[in-house]
Point group: C2
DNA sequence: GCTATCCGTTCTGTTTTAAAGAACGATTTG
DNA sequence: CAAATCGTTCTTTAAAACAGAACGGATAGC
């Protein structure tokens, strides 16, 4: 009881044009052959795909349904054919990495670094929203998605989240600040620059605050690390962020690290789809030590 | 030079398990047959899909590529088979409507109203972001998307935007307001509740303001009509919105319509994919008069 | 280091399936 | 009302998918 894709293809072609004879000519087959195979498809599916009115063919409701599926199936097939037809040359290895747009660029670069020097390989980096990226992952348009939070897979979407690394999160502010802020005391006068509410780091920070019964005054909520860096540099507020993001500023003394927050981490996850043949290059990326990623 | 889906199917099955003999048993064919057909596929594509190492099969880079496509192709195919296998009963007509989440619920209801009484038809309503909805449309998971702005199609995405209706936009505020606001004078003391910046209505309003060299004080930007209605009702600010949204409040006198804004409209578009066989029910929905939609 | 086994490939003959041609029937056109 | 158009059905022919046997390289056990 398997679907015959050859029959489905003929059905698709006929449904697209609406005419059996013309399609037969276009495909260089006889109309009798076309007619028979579509009939066989209908027999197998157990329902009429066309409604025969006089000498015209109209799609039935079942036909419309089948046509929608056929459309995606054969569009994909033609894309595949085109990929092999062009060039004809051997296919280069491709690694396609999606990253949540707000993720640390440092980390992204660290992740793909081993691939940057390789001439035998194409690297594709895409940023976007989580929903968008996961959809691409499911459609096999991406090999891995980098995120700062794990996702739960289910039977329909067998995603696998693997923590790649985590780094401490500190209070970062101008080095001129006096008295130096110490968590959680002596902070009442200050305003904070915090990660956005949907961020796991922010969640941990809020929990820490509520443990100490401290309600921070919020100057800004930012979900982009690069943006947070700018705000930390150009305001007198205290930013809650991983020190690596502002490594340069810490080094040259414009900013100062006022201490890591206990239990607050920024975490990095790789989300993949379980599959039998993993690309060896990707596998190597995913099995590195944390240190290699965070430097 | 056409792709043979039968061959691709065998390739897919073997690639999934990684073993030719086991797959042959599972599919009830001889391994020689499997081997030959996969070879034929490779010949046609012009590249090896498997790397034969000793008595093991590994996917080549081209194979990985082909496997990704095969996965989506045959997943779709199996879904289609399942749809026809279950039931076996005749397929009911389905109309699947996507609507931008912020679109007037009144309008959405008006649009689908002719379908609500019909027993012979399933109606599926989905809301979401524009990107998401357009993706579903392209994947044939939706028949039409309702939006308040048109989209441009291109050769890759042959979207067609059709304006279904438009309605005037007024200044709406508490009926107690004195003196009654008249655009654009006598508004300097008031704050506005406006549609969000990415909205076409907002754009038209901004153009009107700049024409009169008037800069409105903004109390809130809201992209959801239902929310705007609440704010108009519960604040003393002036809302820029279509009067129909607050029909009840206008009727019972809590709110008042202080006049339509010239050249400012809220517009409604239906976005579809050009296709040969449109569902007759959908076609009927799309060719109605504006009045039927806006009541 | 030899033998037995496993597993994929290749060759050849057989079976199944797809395709073509002719006859038919229904519908539209002039 | 005849001629043309278009899809279906039946029968024959061509092309494919398939099975079985022989082959060969790789692995495992003794």
């Amino acid at each position: 009881m398997k679907l015959n894709y050859h029959h489905l293809y003929y059905f698709w072609q006929v449904a697209k044009s609406g005419h059996l004879t013309r399609t037969a000519e276009a495909l260089h087959v006889s109309q009798s052959s076309l007619s028979q195979q579509i009939r066989q498809l209908e027999d197998r599916l157990g329902q009429a795909l066309f409604i025969r009115e006089g000498r015209q063919l109209h799609l039935s409701e079942a036909g419309r349904l089948a046509f929608d599926y056929a459309e995606t199936i054969f569009t994909q097939g033609e894309e595949l054919s085109a990929l092999f037809a062009e060039g004809g040359h051997a296919h280069r290895e491709v690694v396609r990495v999606g990253a949540v747009a707000t993720l640390s660029r440092n980390f992204q670069e660290g992740f793909v670094r081993p691939l940057l020097g390789r001439d035998d390989l194409d690297l594709i980096l895409q940023s976007g929203g989580m929903d968008d990226l996961l959809r691409r992952l499911s459609a096999h348009k991406l090999d891995v998605v980098l995120s700062n939070q794990p996702v739960r897979g289910d039977s329909e979407h067998p995603w696998r989240s693997q923590r790649l690394a985590r780094q401490p999160v500190s209070l970062i502010a101008s080095s001129q600040l006096s008295p130096p802020p110490v968590f959680p005391d002596g902070l009442s006068g200050h305003a904070f620059i915090l990660p956005g509410a949907e961020n796991a780091t922010r969640h941990a920070f809020d929990q820490l605050c509520s443990h100490y019964r401290f309600s921070p005054k919020i100057a800004a909520e930012v979900d982009d690390m690069a943006m947070m860096r700018l705000l930390a540099r150009d305001t007198q507020h205290i930013a809650v962020m991983p020190p690596v993001v502002v490594r340069d500023e810490l080094h040259n003394g414009t900013l100062k690290d006022y201490g890591a927050l206990p239990g607050v981490w920024e975490e990095f996850y790789a989300i993949t789809i379980q599959r039998r043949f993993e690309s060896p290059s990707l596998k190597a990326l995913l099995t590195r030590s944390e240190d290699a990623l965070l430097d």
